[in-house]
């Protein structure tokens, strides 16, 4: 059985396509690499969908937290504190059991108790809270002169936010936001280790890596493969966000452009 057959059998195993049974013996390097790679589909799915949807909520939260009005400010502050102050692991557990109890109230909540939606909701709120805090910090450091110039040109309300404040906020927040994106992808590995069960053994990359490490009792093969996949993913994110960063900074003189610096001391 060549490696291509293994790819055909297990390449989309995490989506339920292909061979149904996971390998029981003869754990070749190829099988481990293919199955763990197949699990990466879930990590990428969770990461991308949560990041894109969380981006909009994060902007709203940042504006809310900076708002002079009491109600939106308090709501955003509490939301951000709730999700930044507690472990993501506990959030997953809590959400899963919450959706389980809601399921008995109304069948609308049935899909929420499976990982593809339930965990996604948690990740969406979580990344929105973390990015919201980043955006809020950037919103406060938008140069006063920019806003005054906008006023002088007759901008106000939504056009001023859309054309002047928001792009500057994004530009200032982008290096920190890049790290947030990286850690969001790392955080997706927690999904199948917390409350959410992997239905029919369709798990993410860490789920399969852990499966192999348990079966072979040898952590020195499966985990390094997983680490390799994540390093590639991290490099891709840095490249993509770096390209966006260059676009956001393109109007500035070379020396004043902010560079994306990888700072890994921000975790969940």
């Amino acid at each position: 059985m060549s490696c291509w057959d293994v790819v055909a059998d297990y390449g989309l195993r995490s989506l339920g396509i292909g061979e149904r049974l996971l390998p029981r013996d003869d754990f070749t390097l190829c099988k481990q690499a293919v199955l763990i790679g197949s699990g990466m589909i879930w990590n990428v799915y969770f990461g991308i969908v949560a990041l894109v949807s969380g981006f909009f909520l994060a902007t709203a939260l940042a504006v809310g937290k900076a708002s002079p009005r009491w109600l939106p400010r308090k709501l955003s502050e509490w939301f951000i504190f709730l999700f930044r102050g507690s472990p993501l692991f506990i959030q997953f557990f809590f959400a899963y059991f919450l959706f389980l109890s809601l399921k008995s109230v109304s069948p609308i909540f049935a899909p929420f108790s499976s990982a593809w939606l339930g965990a996604l909701v948690v990740l969406f709120f979580n990344t929105a809270a973390y990015s919201g805090e980043i955006f809020y910090g950037a919103l406060l450091s938008v140069p006063k002169g920019d806003v005054e110039a906008a006023d002088a040109y007759g901008f106000s309300g939504w056009p001023r936010f859309r054309r002047i404040v928001w792009p500057t906020m994004l530009r200032l927040a982008w290096p920190a936001y890049t790290n947030e994106a990286i850690f969001l992808f790392h955080a997706t590995t927690l999904v199948f280790f917390s409350g959410f069960p992997a239905w029919q053994q369709r798990g993410d990359a860490l789920y399969y890596a852990n499966y192999f490490a348990d079966k072979t009792f040898n952590p020195f093969v499966a985990y390094p493969i997983l680490a390799g996949y994540f390093i590639v993913l991290t490099l891709l994110i840095i490249w993509l966000f770096g390209a966006i960063n260059r676009r956001l900074n393109r109007h500035l003189p070379q020396a004043r452009r902010s560079k994306v610096r990888y700072r890994p001391n921000l975790l969940r």
């Binding site: 754990f27 102050g85 507690s86 692991f89 557990f93 927690l190 985990y223 990888y262 890994p264």
Partner: protein, 293 residues
């Protein structure tokens, strides 16, 4: 616990809860909060030590040592920390057993890895299969502490390495101008000034460490997550005197509140510490304090 708890079925609601919250199992749940605090109390200084060693090694003039330190710092970049947690627990366990095997059973000829098995001689097992249960738990907990320390040591090394580079270079040059050796400069000038630059990063790290403690559950320690899952699950009269529906959501709500409070208290305490440390420092914060006074 109380004398009226002998027949739960006749109790009024407050009395029922008074009995429920004082059962032996719930006591184990409360004790597991102690496990988490113990883990934090041991891990924080040990990880700081690992981090200090790593940062000092990365600054070393001896190239291989410096590479080693930089490799340690770079370790946690790009790979989820949970992977290291799962990896180190097995790897350390096998490493210890392998070393003991080499020392205790030198005339053993069979290979240690036989297919999917990892076989060492009986005398090399850790802890020995004859050891009482408590030693198995202590060993599991120590492995968890060591794993946490290695991973968070790498984060701490990152912070401390950055802080050492943030100390104004003129300070070090002045020290050398006064004839201090490299070692004296390091211990007497660099280290005392480093902390104020390191504190924001280290406080962030403390928050991260608090939020990483539920991962103990994954390492096989009976921590608060384990007990919340066990106790919250639906109980029938067959297994317990206190039947109730699935209460896991309430147990995890409790844990959520516990962590939120813990984070809040830490935030306030660290802010106070920062105020004290910036006092009299030639930084923006210190200057602001001087003007306010």
């Amino acid at each position: 616990m109380f004398s009226f708890c002998t027949d739960p079925s006749v109790l009024s609601t407050p009395a029922w809860f008074a009995c429920y919250f004082t059962t032996g199992k719930l006591m184990l749940f409360y004790a597991s909060f102690g496990t988490v605090l113990l883990l934090l109390a041991i891990t924080a200084p040990v990880a700081l030590g690992f981090g200090f060693a790593g940062a000092a090694a990365a600054r070393a003039r001896f190239a291989p040592l410096s590479w080693l330190g930089k490799l340690y710092i770079a370790m946690v970049r790009g790979v989820p920390d949970i992977v290291f947690f799962l990896f180190f627990v097995i790897a350390l366990d096998q490493g210890f057993e392998y070393l003991r095997h080499k020392v205790k059973c030198p005339d053993w000829t069979d290979p240690i890895r036989q297919g999917s098995d990892f076989i060492v001689c009986d005398a090399a097992k850790l802890p020995l299969s004859t050891a009482p249960q408590i030693w198995h738990e202590v060993y599991g907990f120590s492995l968890a502490v060591l794993t946490f320390s290695i991973v968070f040591g790498a984060f701490a090394a990152n912070v401390l390495y950055g802080a050492m580079r943030a100390v104004p270079h003129a300070q070090l040059e002045t020290a050398e101008a006064y004839g201090m050796t490299h070692r004296q400069t390091f211990w007497r000038v660099l280290i005392p000034q480093m902390w104020v630059y390191a504190l924001p990063g280290l406080s962030n790290l403390w928050m991260v460490l608090i939020k990483a403690t539920p991962l103990l559950f994954l390492l096989g320690v009976e921590d608060i997550v384990y007990w919340a899952r066990e106790l919250g699950g639906a109980k029938t009269a067959r297994f317990s005197d206190y039947p109730h529906a699935d209460w896991r959501v309430w147990y995890f709500l409790g844990l959520l509140v516990f962590y939120l409070l813990f984070t809040r208290v830490s935030e306030i305490a660290l802010a106070k510490l920062m105020t004290r440390l910036t006092h009299g420092q030639a930084t923006v914060g210190g200057e602001a304090q001087r003007k306010a006074a």
